[in-house]
Amino acid sequence: MGKKLLTEHIHVPGINSFDVYKQHGGYASVERALKQMTPAEVVEEVKKSGLRGRGGAGFPTGMKWSFIDKKSGKPRYLVCNADESEPGTFKDRYLMEKIPHLLIEGMIVSSFALEAHLSFIYIRGEYKWIYELLWKAVNEAKANGYLGHNILGTGYHLDIVVHCGAGAYICGEETALIESLEGKRGNPRIKPPFPAIQGLYGNPTVVNNVESIAAVPWIVNHGGEAYSKFGVGRSAGTKLISACGNIRKPGVYEIDLSLPVKEFLYSDEYCGGMANGKRLKAVVAGGSSVPILPAELFLQTADGKDRLMSYESLNEGGFASGTMLGSGGFIVYDEDACIVRNTWNFTRFYHHESCGQCSPCREGTGWMEKVLHNLESGHGTSGDIDLLWDIQRKIDGNTICPLGDAAAWPVASAIRHFREEFEWHVAEPELSQKRNYGLLNSTKEKLYHTEATIES
């Protein structure tokens, strides 16, 4: 069983309260950092740890911190990105819901490292009850002297504001999140300037994912080097994976980044294998944006090596035969799944969530949704597949923020790996309305029709 760095105490009854959390070693890193270390030393430990941003992009956290402008003398802000909305991802929710003080502890230490005195947690509006849990945790920490003025008598002061969104996937993009936090529409900004120079209210800002910030207390307590010994190579540490789809045990698991994918998928400690004795068809390994892989390319690389749940191993083969670890949203499809339908579903999502600033994304996502809907409902033509390929290619890389790429990749990878299934929908329009393509021999009757979920 892999060592748990974030979730070791998560099942302790009452761990969401300050007292129980403290009894289990909570807030030790605050004592250590504020009393024995300088901000630069904390940054150095996080750099040494090799911790990479857990929101999806995987950018080294310590390096991100070191870019923050400390020379201008402007106020600095730490903003925690808790706007978890990538389909397949529900790991931050798990941490915040079960052990909210871990995030608060991480926020205090990280804010100290950045020498920030006001920090924000931006949580998606739908997580209303967690928003309240976080405020409760903030207030408890404050009442116990871990927030506010002169924390633990060290002279450092910090306030944390928990801020809620109101339903917008795009606000998970850091500059859109900043815009939203300023009280505006969540339209991403053109970079540069990067938030580290000009972020919230025009001041230097670091935006970090919940899980990244929650990893900081362990790193401060045990040292960056100890953290870097978990995982493999540049994939240091542990990662929360939220597993869903057609598996026996959906849920959130903390894994060592050196874990083989076969073990993660089939062992009883994690996903527990496929539900209902079905065969594996495809996997989206890191949230809906990352390329979907057919079973054989997911379990092994194109040259026959067993894959690991690490950034590098999942990426091996590039987009031709690999994928990404992304946010850790692990979606499994069984032999009855319809890839065309799933791609249409994801594209509808991106169309709904496009902020509308850039034409390729605003127009392209809607166009792809229509073409995919035609294909899925038996009205596709043979030219539609090439048309889809052309549209996604024109979105990818041509937009201000990565939402455009995120919308293009699922379409590109679905066509790349499952082209024959798209062609089957064109060749067999009537049959495709009766059953899913599945693994070609699927006999499962198709029960629901696309029209049912189209919004008025």
């Binding site: 389909p87 397949g88 917008a168 505006k184 209210y201 799933n342 994801f346 999502f349 029960l447």
Partner: protein, 180 residues
């Protein structure tokens, strides 16, 4: 999306006004516009879970910002309802992972049970059913959000029936809603 003007006077309760002021004070001096999203959540709570143009204008006055600054935010975020909804808004997640686990069945079942179409409201104004995008509950699908809470693993007609029955009998529905 067309916003609706009701021409009814809007006034927050004392406690809502106090809460709005407290929220504005959380942000640095001169940056109280940051409070707009939390305050719009309160506004919805004060206005039967939707935002009329009148409500948005009131919020603009309260925050001392231009009405258009409120409109542009209210129209961007999917949690703000710009037309009236039923007492219970049943928001079923229908994105990929939930769809794989029966979200479409859940929408179909709810709509046929309540005799409405997706997006519609029942004649007695009790329920609105809406398909929404990813709510971050992929492993606990099929599921829906009602007010403040998530209702998960709704995979049988019996569970859905029991939940609807429970909601029908609830008088004090407000206690589960948004408290900023």
């Amino acid at each position: 999306m067309l916003a609706v003007k009701t021409n009814k006077p809007v006034n927050f309760s004392e406690s809502a006004q106090a809460k709005a002021r407290e929220i504005m004070d959380r942000y640095p001096t001169g940056k109280h516009k940051s409070a707009i999203i939390p305050i719009l959540h309160i506004a919805q709570e004060e206005n039967e879970n939707w935002l009329s143009v009148d409500t948005m204008d009131y919020v603009a006055g309260l925050m001392k910002i231009k009405p258009v600054e409120v409109y542009e935010v209210a129209t961007f975020y999917s949690m703000f309802n710009l037309k009236p909804v039923g007492r219970f808004l049943l928001e079923v997640c229908h994105t990929g992972p939930c769809a794989v686990r029966g979200a479409e069945w859940l929408i179909d079942y709810l709509c046929s049970k309540l005799n409405i179409k997706p997006g519609g409201t029942t004649a007695d104004n009790m329920f609105t059913v809406k398909g929404v995008e990813c709510l971050g509950a992929c492993g606990y699908a099929p599921m829906m959000q009602i007010g403040k809470y998530y209702y998960e693993h709704l995979d049988t007609p019996e569970k859905v029936d029991a939940l609807i029955e429970q909601l029908r009998n609830r008088v004090d529905y407000k206690h589960e809603n948004w408290v900023v």
